[in-house]
């Protein structure tokens, strides 16, 4: 499909681009005139932009199962990319909303830039979800990475934030260098940039070049693995997650990871990933909430990757399903962490001591739901997510992986339960402040926790949906 016709199927991205420009101009106009802090405008504009992108994505109808190739094959629009765009749109919307109530972000003088960067990052992820060629994959991934570096370091006078951004940049630079090197090998071996051409090239490859292809794939995997924070490319995650502003951490953990999986799935029809209890063990000793959630997100990349390893049958579907469940519970957990940080200025576990008994029963309850869901207890979304992944594993007879994954979930319960213990079982110390939370602050958290329970009880609809999205690969 040519460029002009393609625009008709590009509405969500266009809306995001328009919103980015609008945010920049409004921000310029407002700060330029009075020289004082910007108003609510940029944030609300960003919210509108993300909402518009989401609504427009829902309006996209995949042309057929095989999908449509837009912009001369650069962009693919199929049920799979629509699935990811909906998920990413939801994540973007939630993170913008979250940022609007984050004290960290509100305290910054250049709030407008923040929203422009956030939306840009979102736009890059939309492109990642539908990249049809190696070139597009690389460009969109870099776009997302660059904006993420800035977002991570957005707390200008916070040393941890700066440190995190620098680490992220260095790791990211290395990973992306390795990846493009690998991609150049793939291109050299197969003579194609588009996935279909690569598949043909690989099929025609002589056995002697197999080794070279394997090496190339390992290098490419480094780039993707870095994006989804999978072992062994995960080392950046704990530091970056700890240093970044909380909404940015949530964005990286939920959206960036989902987009990385979209790229990974499309590119890799023949990779092998492995995860294990290593991240869980590292988690046990964490006392910073954001750091704990970072390690947990590494472990969860592992569960999702198990679905990727299975690939055939239910594997892809299980992975997609898992990402949705993960979206709900992880975003919810970060949201509560932000609420607590807003109220107390603390992110360490001690700041949660006896939370339930000093006015924070509602957020403590919600965080409990999210954490137990992350641990995979029924009837919560995280359980059905794992259930799907393990079902796919058992069906594919990968019993060892399933058993490792299950044992890992027992270990993981221990550290999630430790947080719950601190909130409910420990008595607050005398100098712990009494807290109050308004209904407006708790609205989003309440909705997410209800959704986590609801998805755990009724998930037929989502199974149907991921089946449609996964058919791109299997059917």
């Amino acid at each position: 499909m040519g460029t002009i016709e393609s625009l008709a199927y590009f509405h969500p991205e266009l809306a995001l681009a328009a919103a980015i420009l609008a945010v920049i101009f409004v921000d310029l106009a407002l700060t330029g005139r009075a020289g004082q802090r910007a108003s609510e405008w940029p944030g609300n504009l960003a919210l509108a932009g993300a909402g518009a992108a989401l609504v427009l994505t829902r309006g996209l109808r995949p042309l057929d199962v095989r999908g449509a190739w837009l912009f001369n094959g650069m962009i693919v629009l199929d049920a799979f990319s629509v699935f990811f765009k909906v998920l990413l749109g939801l994540a973007l919307l939630a993170v913008v909303w979250m940022s609007l109530s984050s004290r960290e972000i509100r305290a910054q003088p250049n709030e407008g830039e923040y929203y422009a960067l956030l939306l840009s990052s979102g736009l890059g992820m939309f492109l990642m979800a539908s990249a049809g060629t190696l070139l597009m994959a690389y460009l969109s991934l870099e776009f997302v990475s660059l904006t993420s570096y800035v977002l991570t370091g957005f707390l200008r006078h916070n040393r941890r934030s700066g440190e995190a951004a620098l680490k992220y940049l260095i790791y990211g630079g290395v990973a992306s260098g390795a990846m493009i090197y690998g991609m150049s090998w793939v291109f050299g071996l197969t003579g194609a940039m588009d996935y279909a051409g690569i598949a043909r090239g690989v099929a025609a490859l002589d056995p002697a070049s197999r080794g070279a292809l394997f090496l190339a794939l390992v290098l490419v995997l480094a780039g993707f693995g870095y994006k989804i924070a999978s072992v062994p490319f995960h080392m950046w995650a704990p530091d970056v997650y700890t240093g970044a502003p909380i909404p940015v951490t949530a964005f990286l953990a939920v959206a960036s990871k989902a987009a990385g999986f979209a790229l990974l799935l499309r590119f890799f029809h023949f990779g092998v990933g492995h995860e294990g209890p290593a991240p869980a063990v590292a988690q046990v000793s964490q006392t910073n909430m954001k750091r704990l959630l970072a390690y947990s997100s590494i472990a969860h990349a592992g569960y999702a990757l198990l679905g990727f390893v299975v690939f055939a049958d239910r594997g892809v579907e299980a992975l997609l399903f898992y990402l949705v469940a993960y979206y709900l519970m992880n975003l919810g957990a970060f949201w509560v962490v932000m609420l607590i940080a807003n109220a107390t200025g603390r992110e360490d576990l001690d700041g949660y001591r006896g939370l339930a008994w000093r006015g924070g029963a509602a957020p403590a309850l919600a965080l409990g739901v999210f954490l137990f869901s992350l641990a995979g207890l029924p009837p919560l979304a995280g359980f059905v997510g794992k259930f799907n992944v393990f079902a796919a594993g058992v069906q594919a007879k990968l019993y060892a992986l399933v058993v490792i994954g299950l044992l890992n979930s027992v270990i993981s319960l221990y550290y999630y339960a430790r947080v719950v213990k601190t909130m409910f079982l420990d008595d607050p110390a005398a100098d712990d402040p009494a807290l109050r939370f308004g209904a407006s602050e708790l609205g989003a958290v309440g909705a997410l926790s209800l959704a986590t329970v609801a998805l755990g009880v009724s998930f037929n609809w989502l199974l149907r949906w991921v089946e449609v999205a996964g058919r791109v690969f299997t059917g």
Partner: protein, 511 residues
């Protein structure tokens, strides 16, 4: 959804109660207490109605089923038969009584009762669920409230006890999850239907044995069978009284219930084969662990100075009889085992309630710290005597019947183990009588001369249990009539299914 919704109502009325309790103001303690009690009454009444309409000769009854998750062939499927009906009644009864027994809780009353109601839904669900996925969900749903109930309202080492209980049980349930998934994919057509899986799942003998063992470990943790028992004394001692009652009275039974329903019911071939000295390996395992439990529990109980810990270890000992009876797999043995599940539920509930009564007054449970209570609290002494004699297995009280049946049944298959198990009765009598003597006889402790007598509320929770213990000791026929046909059916089912599998294996081997 079709069928009789009575079980569904029974399971989910407590859940509805949570919504009401949460809507009440947190300071209205009495309102919360009474509302929760009110919401635990309908399940009891419905259980009695089910009991009344129950026909022992028919199979699963009061079935209510309908599709839940089509994409995975998961059904909402509940029903009761002769094995689960007594457990359902026991659960509903103990929950109702324990709501009343918890009136003394003052900390976080709202949270306590909300969690308790959630626990009740989970427990009733486990005994009624006939879809394996549903069973697993209910099984896990019990975990969370239990963790919090022990962890928040428990004794000094409550956090340790709670997390230990949690991790042990979760370890058991992940093994169960793998088995569930394996059976699902091995069955044709794919299904989680617990009543059909033994027919539809095509599993080779070696894999069956592996699955049997995985499930068994999961259930053995719950019973708890040696060597998975170490969570129990901790959890029991730290838990608040009512939760100890539920733990010992209901949760332990889920282990043995699960073995009967799932290990026996779904994997019959692995249950009956391969043989060694005329009995299957599975039975030998059960019998040996059961006997060990009996002796070990009794010896450990004898060494305790804490009254609650003593009762906890006596539970380990008494659950051993259930395992021994199940291993015998004779009509008497298995009838005795299932009856023992019910009887232990009532007797141990009384014991824990009684421990709670004295603890509320003296604020310690050190056996040696009391003395001569008989002259200070005569009514309390009388009730305790009844409970102790019942636990001892004195003729005329309920536990005698079930333990005698178990030993009779086991004698034919495991003479040596039966002799060991039977002689442990002496040990049981020993620690219980010794405790009675130290606490209730002799010179009264000066400190406790003014201890108030057991009050009406406490008596109200104990009297129904005591009445059941006496009634079933004299006239156990009603409950035996209820369960025997189901157990005969289970026996036939296991033998036939095992023979069928053995046949196909032989055919396969011959090819």
């Amino acid at each position: 959804m079709h069928g009789d919704p009575v079980l569904t109502l029974m399971i989910f009325i407590p859940l509805a109660g949570i919504a009401v309790v949460l809507a009440l103001p947190s300071r209205a303690h009495d309102a919360i207490r009474w509302t929760s009690t009110l919401f635990s009454a309908p399940p009891l009444l419905l259980a009695v109605r089910v009991l009344h309409g129950f026909r022992p000769d028919a199979g699963f009854q009061f079935v209510h089923r309908g599709p839940w998750i089509d994409a995975f062939d998961i059904e909402y499927f509940v029903g009761v038969d002769g094995i689960s009906i007594t457990m359902v009644v026991l659960t509903a009864l103990l929950c109702f009584l324990c709501m009343i027994a918890s009136f003394g809780i003052e900390k976080g009353v709202k949270g306590y009762y909300a969690l308790f109601l959630l626990l009740e839904t989970g427990m009733l669900g486990v005994f009624c669920a006939l879809d394996f996925f549903l069973f697993f969900v209910f099984w896990e749903v019990m975990l969370l409230p239990m963790y919090f109930l022990i962890g928040i309202w428990g004794g000094p080492r409550r956090e340790y006890a709670a997390i230990k209980f949690f991790l042990y049980t979760l370890l058991g349930s992940v093994l169960m999850l793998v088995t569930i998934l394996y059976l699902y994919f091995a069955s044709d057509p794919h299904s989680f239907d617990m009543t059909q899986l033994s027919r539809t799942a095509h599993v080779t003998m070696n894999v069956q044995l592996l699955l049997w063992l995985a499930l068994f470990i999961g259930f053995a943790i719950k019973i708890p069978a040696f060597p998975f028992h170490t969570w129990l004394p901790d959890a029991h001692v730290e838990a608040p009284t009512a939760i100890s009652v539920i733990l010992a009275g209901v949760l332990l039974k889920m282990g043995t219930y699960g073995i009967l329903r799932i290990n026996y019911g779904i994997l019959p071939a692995a249950t009956l084969a391969p043989a060694w000295h005329g009995r299957s390996l599975a039975f030998w395992l059960l019998a040996a662990l059961g006997t060990f439990n009996i002796v070990y529990g009794a010896l450990a109980a004898m060494a305790q100075t804490d009254l609650k810990k003593l009762v906890a270890y006596s539970s380990i000992s008494h659950m051993g009889y259930v395992m021994l009876g199940m291993a015998a797999f004779t009509p008497q043995g298995i009838n005795g085992a299932v009856l023992q599940m019910f009887n232990h539920g009532t007797v141990t509930a009384m014991l824990f309630l009684l421990v709670g009564v004295i603890y509320d007054r003296a604020h310690h449970r050190d056996i040696a710290g009391f003395g001569g209570l008989a002259s200070i609290m005569p009514v309390y002494t009388g009730v305790t005597g009844l409970a102790f004699f019942a636990a001892m297995g004195l003729p005329g009280l309920s536990a005698f019947i079930s333990e005698a049946l178990v030993l009779l049944g086991a004698w034919q298959s495991y003479p040596l183990l039966t002799v060991i198990g039977a002689s442990a009765v002496v040990l049981t009598a020993g620690y219980l009588l010794w405790t009675l003597q130290r606490m209730f006889l002799g010179k009264p402790n000066e400190k406790y001369l003014t201890l108030p007598e057991i009050n009406a509320r406490e008596l109200f929770t104990l009297v129904p249990l005591g009445a059941i213990v006496v009634f079933l000791g004299i006239y156990p026929t009603p409950i035996l009539d209820l369960q025997s046909p189901a157990l005969v059916r289970l026996n036939d089912h296991v033998t036939q299914a095992a023979a069928r599998t053995a046949g196909t294996e032989r055919v396969a081997a011959a090819r």
